[in-house]
C-alpha cells in the first residue's frame, strides 16, 4: 500500500488543499506547513494553471495570485523539495502543464518528464481535474512506473460503466465530488454526498468487474470534497461513510482574507492551523459516531 493509502488506514483522513505560491512562495511554505501541524494526513498541492475550469471563484483567485507572483512548474517542484512536512503530497493540476513539461534531459512531450520530476521532488500522487479515465492511460502508466498514485474524481453523475472504468484506474483515494459544479466552500452539505458514497459502497462490495488495483489495495479509500467548510461538515460526511475529507476553498478563503487585509504570514498560518484542527477533529468525531460497518475483505 502506498503512503497515501496508509494515511487513510487508521481513522478518517483530513486532506487539505492549497495553491502553491499563493500569495507568494514564502508565505505559501508557511501555510502548507501549518496544515501539516494542524493534522493533515495528505496534502493536495495545487500547481496553478491559467485555465482552472473546474474551480470556483475562490480557487481561481488563489491561482491568479500565485501566477502573478511568478509560480511555475519548475518553482513548484523546488517548493515541494524544500517543504518540511511529513505527510504524503498530492500534486493537483491540469493536464496541459503535465503534458508540456520537459527537462533538458527529456524533451518529449507527454506526462513522463513531469511525473519523473514530481517523484524526484517528493510528490506521491496526482489529481488532474480535466483528465477523465478515458484519456488517463499515459499518465497512469507513468505513475505506475514511478510508484505514484493517480487519484480520480467520481462525480455525482458518475455511474455504471464509467464508475467501473474509474475504479479500475484509481489509486491512492477516490475523490468523491460532493455536488455538481465547481470547487467552493458552502454553507450546507450536499444531499448528493450520501448518494455518491452509497454508490461507491455498492460498488465496493460488489464482486464483479476487474479486480486489478482494488483487490490489491483492499478497497480504495473514499475522500469527499467540494464545498466542505466546517468541522460540522466534516463530521457529517465522515459519519455518512467517507474515509476522508478534502477541503480547499475554506482554507484558501483564509489565505485570501489574510492577503487582502495585509496580515502577517504567521498570523494567517496560525488561523490555517486552527482551521485544520477543527476539520480534523470534526472528521474524527464523525468517525466515532459511525455505526460500525461489516468489514469486507
Amino acid at each position: 500500500m502506498s503512503r497515501i493509502g496508509e494515511a487513510f488506514a487508521d481513522g478518517p483522513a483530513f486532506v487539505p488543499y492549497l495553491a502553491v505560491g499563493d500569495p507568494d512562495y514564502e508565505s505559501s511554505t508557511a501555510y502548507v506547513e501549518a496544515l501539516a501541524h494542524g493534522g493533515a494526513d495528505v496534502i493536495e498541492l495545487g500547481l496553478p494553471f491559467s485555465e482552472p475550469v473546474a474551480e470556483g471563484p475562490t480557487i481561481q483567485g488563489a491561482v491568479t495570485r500565485a501566477l502573478d507572483a511568478g509560480m511555475t512548474p519548475g518553482k513548484y517542484f523546488e517548493f515541494v523539495e524544500e517543504l518540511d512536512v511529513d505527510v504524503p503530497l498530492v500534486c493537483m493540476t491540469y493536464y496541459n502543464l503535465i503534458y508540456q513539461f520537459t527537462t533538458d534531459d527529456d524533451e518529449r512531450k507527454g506526462p513522463r518528464p513531469f511525473v519523473e520530476r514530481a517523484a524526484e521532488a517528493g510528490i506521491e500522487g496526482f489529481v488532474v481535474p480535466d483528465l477523465p479515465a478515458e484519456e488517463a492511460d499515459p499518465l497512469r502508466e507513468a505513475c505506475d512506473d514511478h510508484g505514484l498514485d493517480l487519484v480520480f474524481i467520481v462525480a455525482p453523475t458518475t455511474e455504471g460503466e464509467r464508475l467501473e472504468r474509474i475504479m479500475d484506474r484509481v489509486s491512492g483515494y477516490v475523490y468523491v465530488q460532493a455536488r455538481l459544479g465547481v470547487t467552493g466552500a458552502r454553507d450546507d452539505v450536499s444531499d448528493r454526498t450520501d448518494d455518491a458514497l452509497g454508490r461507491l459502497e455498492d460498488w465496493d462490495v460488489s464482486e464483479q468487474g476487474p479486480e486489478a488495483r482494488r483487490t490489491e489495495s483492499n478497497g480504495v479509500p473514499k475522500a469527499v470534497g467540494f464545498g466542505i467548510k466546517t468541522g460540522k461538515h466534516a463530521e457529517r460526511i465522515v459519519e455518512g461513510g467517507a474515509d476522508g475529507v478534502i477541503v480547499g476553498s475554506a482554507l484558501v478563503d483564509i489565505v485570501a482574507e489574510g492577503h487582502r487585509e495585509g496580515r502577517p504570514a504567521e498570523a494567517v498560518a496560525a488561523d490555517l492551523e486552527a482551521k485544520a484542527r477543527e476539520l480534523k477533529e470534526g472528521a474524527a468525531s464523525g468517525y466515532a459516531q459511525r455505526v460500525p460497518e461489516p468489514e469486507h475483505t
Binding site: 491540469y94 512531450k109 477523465p132 474524481i153
Partner: protein, 413 residues
Amino acid sequence: MSTSKFGEYGGQYVPEALMPAIEELEDAYERYVLDNEDGFMDEFRRRLRDFGGRPTPLQHAEQLSERYDAEVYLKREDLLHGGAHKLNNALGQVLLAKYMGKDRIVAETGAGQHGTATAMAAAHLGMPCEVYMGERDINRQRPNVFRMRLNGAAVNTVTVGRGTLKEAINETMRDWATNVEDTHYVIGSVVGPHPFPVMVRDFQAVISEEAREQVRERAGRPPDSVLACAGGGSNTMGAFHGFVGDEDVELYAVEAGGSSLEVDEEEGVAPNSASLSTGDEGVLHGARTKLLQDSNGQIMESHSVSSGLDYAGVGPELAHLVDEERVTPVTVDDDRALEAFHRLSQEEGIIPALETAHAFGFAHENPEQLGDVTVINVSGRGDKDLESVIEESAKRDLSAAPDMDVFDGGAGL
C-alpha cells in the same frame, strides 16, 4: 462509437462531472445527426431553410475579380439569420438539445455572434438560454449584447483574465459542470471535447456542400482555392469540409495576425490569435490541439482586433489538416484586416464582419495564390463591428478607410 481523435488531436479532456453528459451527447450525435433518427436532420435542414434563410448565395464579386485577375466568388454566410455562419451550428445544437430532452442552454461567445445565434435559436425553439461573455468583448460588441437580451437570453459578464473568449469558455464549462443534468452547452466552434468538433463541423458543412455545387454551376469547374478566416475554426471547417477530398483545391485558413506574430512570454501575451501558424500542441478546453501557450504550458492571452478570432486555441481537426498539409494556415494582421473591411464595404457594398475581413486581407496581399477561381467565405456581416472599426481605424493611417471626421463632428453626427 465515432472516433474522438484526428491524428493525435482531439479527445475528451474534461472534468469527470461532464463525462456522462458528453457520452450522452455522443450517443445523441450518432443517432440524430449521423443516423437522422426521428427525422432530426430533416427538421434541422427545414429550419435552416425557413428560419435561417438557407441556401445562402454564392456571389460573383465583380470589382474583386477584376482587381485580382481571378474569378472571385463570395459565399454569403453574412446573409444567414443573425448575420453569421454561427446559426448553422447554434440551431443544430439547440434542436439537438431539445431532442435530448434538455431544458436549458448555456453558451459562451466572443464576438457575440455565436451568442446571438444561440439566443435566436433558443427563442425560436422555446429554450431558456444563458450566455457567458467576457467583459472586454461585451464592450467591443455591444449591439450583440443587446440582441441576446432582446431575444430573452441572460448575458453573464465574465470579468476574470482579459475578458475574452477563453475566459468565457472557462466560465461556461463551470456552469455546465454545475447544471449538467438538464443543461446542454452549445459550444460555438469546432473546439471542445469530442463529439463537439465533429458535430459542429457537420452542422457547418452545409456551407461547403452548397458552395461546391454552386461554384460548379457558376464557374463550370471546381475552384482553385477556398479562403476562410479561422478563430476556433467552425466557419473554416464548414467552408472546407466538402472540398477536403478535392485534392486540387487549395484550402487557406486565415488567422488573425493581430499586431505581431512575436510573443511576449513575460507578460503571457501573444498579440495575435494565430494558433495554427505559430501555436504548439497542448490541451485546452477539452481537446488536444494547437495552442498559444508559454513554455510551461500556461495559455497565453491572445489578441485580435476582431473578437471572434481572439482565441488561443483552434479546432483539433483543423490542426490535424494543417499537419497533414491539406490546409495552409496563413495570417493577416489587424491593419490589413481593417483595410480589407473598408475595401469590401466600399467596392462590393458588403460590410463584412472584422473576422471575415481577414480572409479578404489575405486575398488582397496574395492574389497570385488564389488561382483562376476562388471562393471566399463571407462568414458574417459587420453590423456588430461598426463602433470598433471606427475607433480602430481612427487610430491608424489606413489607405482604404473613409474620412472618419464625419463620424465625430458634423451636425448631429
